[in-house]
């Protein structure tokens, strides 16, 4: 994103809209620092600029990574649309069985809430959990960028790219769940941002979740609010065929 200096009169109206504080006010025109700018297009979409000074530039690889992961909508790239926002995770588990009994799913939302992250941060976390033998979700867009999905490594040319957030998705067995949480806690000291962690469990017939027992026993705190798949999706074998 850039600001057209011929149109901008440095009114400053747009500054609070930018989630990464990438816009700065000059004497005659405002400018965007390309490093913190994550190409989310909030400034452009908000219509805040009375002079239509925001210009969405054509983004080349690897900078387009920023837009793919920071934009809400799928992004046109090469031959098709790319959606950087992750998979349906547990949302369709009643249909897909992605997380089965005995397994624990993890979502690590890197850069969330609101700080953003580089792919160097993403790699630091991915390598740390990969050492525990977790299985990265193969259809997740972050997994698809890895050079090695066993080691959790990423290509050199994208490591400086910054995104508003992106989601590492992986699963482990119940016995490995607490080791993942310990590792995530300690890797938090090795990065310069934050991440938010989700923990997924298939429920028993009485609606209780085995992972809650594990977390409670180990005194791992979790928020009162979470996500519940209510189990009304049709599975293939419910479809009448």
């Amino acid at each position: 994103m850039r600001i057209d200096p011929d149109k901008c009169n440095a009114c400053g109206e747009c500054l609070p809209y930018c989630p990464t504080e990438a816009i700065s006010l000059g004497d005659e025109t405002s400018t965007i620092d390309p490093d913190p700018c994550v190409e989310c297009y909030v400034c452009l979409r908000s219509d805040v600029c009375p002079h239509e000074a925001f210009v969405a530039e054509t983004l080349e690889w690897p900078r387009i990574i920023r837009h793919i992961f920071s934009s809400v909508r799928p992004v046109q790239s090469g031959s098709g649309l790319i959606d950087g926002r992750g998979t349906a995770e547990m949302k369709s588990n009643d249909v897909t069985d992605r997380y089965r009994f005995g397994e624990v799913g993890f979502t690590v939302d890197i850069g969330r809430p609101g700080l953003g992250a580089t792919f160097a941060d993403v790699e630091t976390i991915a390598i740390a959990v990969a050492r525990l033998g977790v299985v990265f979700e193969p259809t997740n867009p972050v997994t698809n960028l890895m050079t090695d999905t066993i080691a959790g490594s990423f290509p050199e040319d994208i490591k400086r790219e910054r995104v508003l957030s992106c989601i590492l998705e992986f699963k482990t067995d119940e016995a490995g769940c607490l080791a993942v949480i310990d590792t995530l806690r300690s890797v938090g000291d090795e990065i310069d941002t934050v991440f938010s962690v989700g923990c997924i469990s298939r429920c028993r017939d009485d609606g209780t979740a085995p992972v809650a027992d594990i977390l409670d026993k180990a005194e791992v705190g979790y928020r009162p609010n979470g996500k519940v798949n209510i189990g009304v999706g049709w599975r293939y074998d419910d479809s009448g065929t």
Partner: protein, 205 residues
């Protein structure tokens, strides 16, 4: 995806904040509810399609949150009370569209609604909170507001600006919540809850 897992706040405030996502289930490519309806009741399906096209019934159903007018897409709705959530889930259960339904909210509250309807959680996702450089995060009230947009398109600076404007009496809390909510493209930003948070903040300052 809407990213409604990590909404911040006290339990009492979160009890007025439920997000329901109804998924298209792209994985179930073999048969959709459309396929099933058209296969079993072809004439009824054709009639329904004609009515939909002529009268825009689909849009009405969509607004009511129980149908999508035969178009495949995800639907989201935000609710402020357990009673409203329960009514909506009852309608979804009745509609039996075959879509997966996911509720974000205080898990015990959601569980009790499901119990009332003869449903139960199939899969749960807990939020273990945030790790890393937490000292870089904005203050509690700002986070309670910004995390209601799952993509973080509502910037902390914009929330702080609106908090100041409400506290100074320049705008009403409802108007401020409205302009904040406009930035959330998935429309899962709970404007009523935001207005309440802004009012609480103004009363404290």
């Amino acid at each position: 995806m809407t990213h409604s897992l990590h909404r911040h706040g006290d339990t009492s405030s979160l009890k007025r904040d439920f997000v329901v996502l109804t998924l298209e289930n792209r994985h179930r490519t073999s048969l959709t509810w459309k396929d099933r309806l058209s296969g079993r009741f072809p004439r009824f399906y054709t009639l329904l399609k004609t009515v939909y096209r002529k009268l825009g019934v689909g849009r009405l159903l969509n607004r009511a949150g129980v149908g999508d007018g035969l178009e495949g897409m995800d639907w989201t709705s935000v609710f402020h009370s357990r009673e409203d959530l329960r009514s909506h889930l009852a309608r979804l259960k009745e509609a039996d569209t075959g879509r997966s339904v996911v509720v974000s909210g205080v898990i015990d509250e959601v569980g009790s609604c499901l119990g009332d309807l003869g449903l139960r959680p199939h899969t749960v996702q807990y939020s273990l909170g945030s790790f890393g450089r937490l000292e870089q995060l904005p203050d509690k009230t700002v986070l309670e507001v910004t995390t209601m947009c799952g993509h973080h398109l509502v910037s902390p600076r914009f929330v702080e600006k609106k908090m100041r404007e409400v506290a100074d009496g320049q705008v009403t809390n409802e108007a401020a919540a409205e302009s904040l909510g406009e930035l959330c493209l998935c429309k899962i930003f709970n404007k009523r809850r935001a207005a309440a948070l802004l009012e609480d903040h103004a009363n404290r300052s």
